[in-house]
């Protein structure tokens, strides 16, 4: 084994590596970015707080104590509202409230009675949106712990305060209802970005784009044909995901104009994004990695697999800048929750994003060589 040869080879690799800024970035900085991002999500940096709306009809010392204890936990931030009893469900629907606790009038009195008479209990109500299963299970467990502590302090452990769970929107929604639209958005994003990257980097490297320049085909004809293919592919994959949702999970999915518009917009949005990425990377390998750096964070930060509320506040703010967030929320609003106003709102945002990215991509990408 010749050390000289090994050293020469090593030095050549080192030089090649150091001269590629893209490789340097993706190899060194990108992992650091990911560690910081996911570390923040899963290790409590920038602590996550869940908002819990409290409606206190009792306004007693005990109810105030209960609310204060909840608020003192590191997980829950209470927001006390004054709402009429018969307007609670409407309030939840209108304000897209994920979870709400109602302390009924006479709560303190009921607790006192229950402490003496074991046949009675004092109830509080916990309204929750079942589609936000993960975050609500965390809040529910904290509320339970507080109630257990109160029971322990007041009666030595007897269940004098109980929690009534009440599902909002519809009892039919579960995690899959949250997850499936996210998967549709995510899948379209993946196929469009990587499809666009392939067309703009591999085809360029292989001389296909140069070849096309010498044929009568125009750039707009070529792009249109590719967009058409992407659209068909997106509708097929969305259809497949929906069929699985309906057949396997017995989901009720609504197909409407907003959902279709969002899917079309998503195609143009992420195809344009792919074009932009390929404008700034030279080779296929870097393009693949660049695609990863765009899609990977969006997969986790844009509410595909879990709700934004589970993330630290600053990441929730970042999510608002990610187009996939609006795609996911729009698909959920249109397909699952039937919130037309929200569906229109998210559709408009997706279409604006689509116009921006697609037009920018068209302007900035070129077939001609320098």
């Amino acid at each position: 084994m010749k050390l000289e040869v090994i050293w020469a080879s090593f030095y050549t690799d080192l030089k090649s590596f150091a001269r590629s800024r893209a490789t340097l970035f993706w190899t060194l900085l990108f992992p650091v970015m990911l560690i910081l991002m996911f570390g923040a999500i899963f290790s409590g940096f920038g602590e996550t707080e869940y908002e819990l709306v409290v409606v206190d009809f009792d306004n007693s010392t005990l109810s105030e104590t209960f609310v204060n204890i909840l608020n003192d936990t590191p997980v829950i931030k209470t927001d006390v509202k004054t709402i009429n009893n018969d307007e609670i469900l409407q309030y939840i629907k209108d304000n897209n409230i994920k979870r709400l606790v109602v302390i009924p009038q006479g709560f303190e009195q009921s607790v006192g009675m229950a402490a003496m008479d074991s046949s009675t209990v004092a109830n509080i109500s916990f309204y929750f949106d079942q589609s936000e299963q993960q975050s609500n299970s965390i809040v529910r467990s904290v509320v339970s712990s507080v109630v257990i502590n109160l029971n322990m302090n007041i009666s030595g452990g007897k269940d004098i305060i109980k929690i009534n769970d009440i599902e909002t929107i519809s009892g039919e929604f579960g995690f899959i209802d949250f997850f499936l639209p996210g998967m549709i958005g995510f899948t379209i994003m993946q196929t469009c970005i990587y499809g666009s990257l392939e067309r703009n980097t591999k085809f360029k490297k292989d001389g296909i784009l140069r070849k096309l320049l010498t044929t009568p085909v125009t750039r707009s004809e070529w792009i249109f044909s590719k967009m058409l293919f992407q659209l068909v592919l997106s509708f097929i994959s969305a259809g497949l995901i929906i069929v699985i949702g309906v057949v396997v999970y017995k989901m009720t999915i609504n197909i409407n104009i907003w959902m279709i518009l969002i899917i079309i917009g998503t195609n143009f949005l992420f195809t344009g994004m792919g074009m932009l990425i390929s404008r700034f990377v030279k080779d296929e390998e870097s393009a693949g990695m660049a695609g990863g750096v765009v899609t990977f964070p969006m997969m986790f930060l844009a509410g595909t697999f879990f709700a934004l509320e589970q993330m630290p506040v600053f990441l929730q703010i970042i999510a608002r800048f990610l187009p996939l967030f609006y795609v996911n929320e729009g698909l959920r609003a249109s397909m699952i929750y039937l919130k037309t106003d929200d569906a229109i709102f998210y559709t408009v945002i997706v279409l604006v994003f689509a116009a921006f990215f697609f037009i920018s991509g068209l302007i900035l990408t070129k077939w001609k060589e320098d």
């Binding site: 001389g207 296909i208 140069r210 070849k211 320049l213 010498t214 044929t215 009568p216 001609k368 320098d370």
Partner: protein
Amino acid sequence: MITKKVECPKCKQIFTSSGNPGDTVRTPCPSCGLTGRVIFEKTFSSNISSENIAIEVSNLRKEYGSLVAVNNISFSVKKGEVFAFLGPNGAGKTTTVEMIESIRQPTAGSIKILGKDISTSFVDVKEKIGVLPQEFRSFERLTVRETLEFFSKLFKKRANIDEIINAMDLKDKENTLYINLSGGLKQRVGVAISLVNDPEIVFLDEPTTGLDPKARREVWEVIADLKNKGKTVFLTTHYMEEAEYLADSITIIYKGDIIARGSLEELISKYGKGHILHIKNCKTKEAVDVLRDNGFNVNKEHNGDIAVKIDYKERVLEVLSILRHEAVDYDSIDIRRSNLEEVFLQLTGARLSEEE
């Protein structure tokens, strides 16, 4: 040296500037001091009548910042000929052909294909040309037939796909995926793609680079067949054997400049040095000195081989006589005429193969 009258774009003063053909001279205006570039066009005489010109390139120039990749070159390609654009890697061949194919934008100059200026009429011209770009790879997951059918559909005029498949000897492979073809077959498919619109001119940019000798030969036969069918072939290559085997006309480009053009015979008679006598495995060390002492131009080659340049065949006997007289021991000798390698060496002082 050429002297040119130029007009200052600023003060309109007319003054003279001098330079060699192909030079770009920075010249200050004697009146206002504004410095500008004066281009002295390099021209090679062309005896092609205008109706027989397939491609006409005039003062074509390409700059990348301060780098001049193509330096005001002019040449013409005759209809029906195989035109070899020969030069080492980095000489400016692909830049030139890609400007002709409208893939790259020239910095200056004009290009006419079949009499039409491509800066204004390239859309029409596209129907009449077929192009195999350098290092072209087609869609991996299409079969040969599907590939040809796809590209055929991009043109108004369409050749018969079956005829192309047969002519390119691809019948056995017509249903094979492109990704599963060998390098030689891929290049044959590339040439076949360039024929789907039955073009008048076929551009083949380094069609045999990276191929083994057998595959290279196969592609040569395909190109030779194109000529037989009356197509004009614009072939860029850095293989002198390829140009020697295929070309009717050879233009040599070196460092962005055209340094020679003509038929193989013309180039060799003009720039070559008669014949080369190869003495194989010469075992007598003094042989080189002895031959040099007798006025011969001698090069030592590998494995003890010696190459002796001789101006005319009759001097072979003189060499043999010296070898016999000095009792030089060798395995064999052969004689061949000078080739493009010697032409290139004569013109540039470098070997074409060394420049790659």
